[in-house]
């Protein structure tokens, strides 16, 4: 226990020391993404908006009868789900792609997944701007229930960070993780009710998705807040918190066990 406290203290001072580097890595991630593009950061907002318009055009005719305010329904789902896949995907490769740096300098490795995660958070904040525009154009008012949104975000961030950290270290040892996860994400996307109503699936599928798809917890909560102007369901909030805690522990523990061996495999 004593050793644990010392470890935590060391990690915290270490984190503070490397904070400027973290900030620099994040801004590098953003800068590199839009370097030499004319619209630059405008793309952060424009991209989710355009994708949403296309999906809206394609799918609204199929499901518009069963879903009211389809654009907001769609955007809520896509916004939350893209964050999960973006963040975990970027974190997954972050350690491996910085192998050259790890072999030549001494910086704590967690800085790479951390900066990948933070970059995704910044991108997510930009997509919130796009979301605000969607709300504006569809004439959807905001209600007091928005106050619960930070809690939902906290859950989703913790869940994604844990999952991403787990994938980041696993990918170093078994490179197949990368390919496997790419396929997994595709399946995950179709099994999350992003552009269709859950009720259009057979009952057994509905049951499985409601209880065992973590992305669903966060998507549904955000829809409750922005689309149905209600407080997120308590059971849903609890499930989201459990998923977040489980994956956060999984990520941290697996990283803690792996960190000394990473340099030998990277």
């Amino acid at each position: 226990m004593k050793q644990f406290i010392v470890d935590v203290k060391l990690t915290v001072t270490n984190c503070i020391r490397y904070l400027p580097l973290l900030g620099n890595l994040i801004s590098r991630g953003l800068k590199r993404k839009y370097r030499r593009s004319i619209l630059g950061y405008v793309w952060c907002v424009l991209n989710p908006l355009l994708v949403m318009l296309i999906m809206n055009f394609v799918f609204s005719h199929m499901f518009s009868s069963s879903i009211t305010n389809f654009p907001v329904y769609l955007f809520c789902g896509r916004m939350m789900f893209s964050f999960i896949t973006d963040a975990t995907g970027a974190m997954e490769n972050s350690i491996l792609s910085n192998g050259a740096l790890m072999r030549k300098t001494r910086i704590p490795y967690y800085i790479f997944p951390m900066s990948a995660f933070c970059t995704s958070v910044v991108n997510f904040l930009f997509s919130l701007v796009a979301f605000a525009l969607v709300l504006l154009f569809t004439g959807t008012p905001l209600s007091v229930h928005v106050a619960a949104f930070p809690l939902v975000l906290l859950e989703m961030f913790a869940f994604s960070f844990g999952l991403g950290l787990f994938l980041a270290q696993a990918n170093v040892f078994i490179r197949d993780v990368n390919y496997l996860y790419a396929v997994f994400i595709t399946g995950w996307m179709y099994l999350t009710p992003l552009f269709y109503p859950l009720t259009s699936l057979p009952e057994i599928m509905q049951y499985l998705i409601t209880y065992f798809n973590p992305a669903c917890y966060y998507v549904d909560q955000s829809r409750a807040i922005f689309l149905y102007h209600a407080w997120p369901d308590g059971a849903l909030l609890l499930r989201g918190a459990i998923a977040a805690a489980v994956f956060l522990v999984l990520g941290l523990v697996s990283y803690g066990r792996a960190k000394n061996d990473l340099i030998l495999y990277v």
């Binding site: 020391r17 400027p20 580097l21 620099n24 590098r28 800068k31 590199r32 370097r35 050259a100 740096l101 790890m102 072999r103 030549k104 300098t105 001494r106 910086i107 000394n260 340099i263 030998l264 495999y265």
Partner: protein, 242 residues
């Protein structure tokens, strides 16, 4: 009375060659079945003892693959000893490769900040030494050009200038003088001599006996991961060059 700044006791570094081999599924399954056979261990360093006093200048010589770079990585803290202990008391500036961590897409200016942070400097230190770095690397005109358009000499100059702008307690230099033209080499040597005069401890790997003789007062000669000879520069270098 000078104090001990680096102490290695019976330090060994072990790699498992089997795990680094590229294997397909079939081989992987077979490998699991006869695990012992595939566990090939390889000691890159074996039972190294080294005590470095503050302000000393050590050279490391030996053939390719004798463990020189591994030893420097061990002291830097990139690798951990498999056996034995490694103790380092001070701020280490590792120059295992000039400009390790440079981002080719970013400009020279952005890379100075980035690289400085990677080496453990604070933002204030980088700002304070910015002009010095630019002057030493002679890149005033190219500061806002992406690094991918730099020549390899320009990248080396920039890397060396950043790593040596703040006086480190320990400067670790692995073959840094082999790149760049003669004028730059002379400049680097001069910079290292200045640091030595200010009390920096230098650990220096080079394949050029001339450079070792000029820079170092102690030498360790490594051969296949073992210490072949260690001691005063003159004695070891005379034996090494024989």
């Amino acid at each position: 009375m000078s104090k001990v700044i680096i102490r290695l006791e019976h330090a060994s570094v072990r790699f498992n060659l089997a795990m680094q081999k590229q294997r397909g599924i079939k081989e992987h399954v077979m490998g699991l079945l006869r695990k012992e056979l595939l566990f090939q261990e390889f000691f890159a360093l074996r039972d190294i003892n080294l005590t470095v006093q503050e302000g000393e200048s050590w050279g490391f010589v030996g053939r390719n693959g004798s463990g020189k770079s591994t030893l420097l990585k061990l002291i830097t803290g990139i690798l951990r000893p498999y056996e034995g202990t490694v103790q380092v008391n001070g701020h280490v500036a590792p120059l295992l490769e000039l400009g390790a961590g440079f981002d080719m897409e970013l400009t020279g200016r952005e890379n100075i900040v980035m690289n400085g942070l990677i080496l453990g400097m604070t933002n204030a230190e980088i700002r304070a030494h910015f002009d010095d770095i630019v002057a030493f690397s002679e890149l005033e005109k190219f500061l806002d050009v992406p690094l991918k358009n730099y020549s390899s000499g320009m990248k080396s100059r920039l890397g060396f200038a950043i790593a040596t702008c703040v006086r480190p307690d320990i400067l670790i230099a692995d073959e840094v003088l082999s790149t760049g033209d003669r004028a730059f080499q002379a400049k680097c040597e001069q910079r290292m001599q200045e640091l030595l005069k200010d009390g920096t401890t230098l650990l220096f790997v080079s394949h050029s006996p001339g450079a070792i003789r000029k820079m170092c007062n102690k030498v360790m000669w490594l051969n296949e991961g073992h210490v072949k000879m260690v001691g005063d520069m003159e004695t070891v270098m005379d034996a090494y060059e024989k």
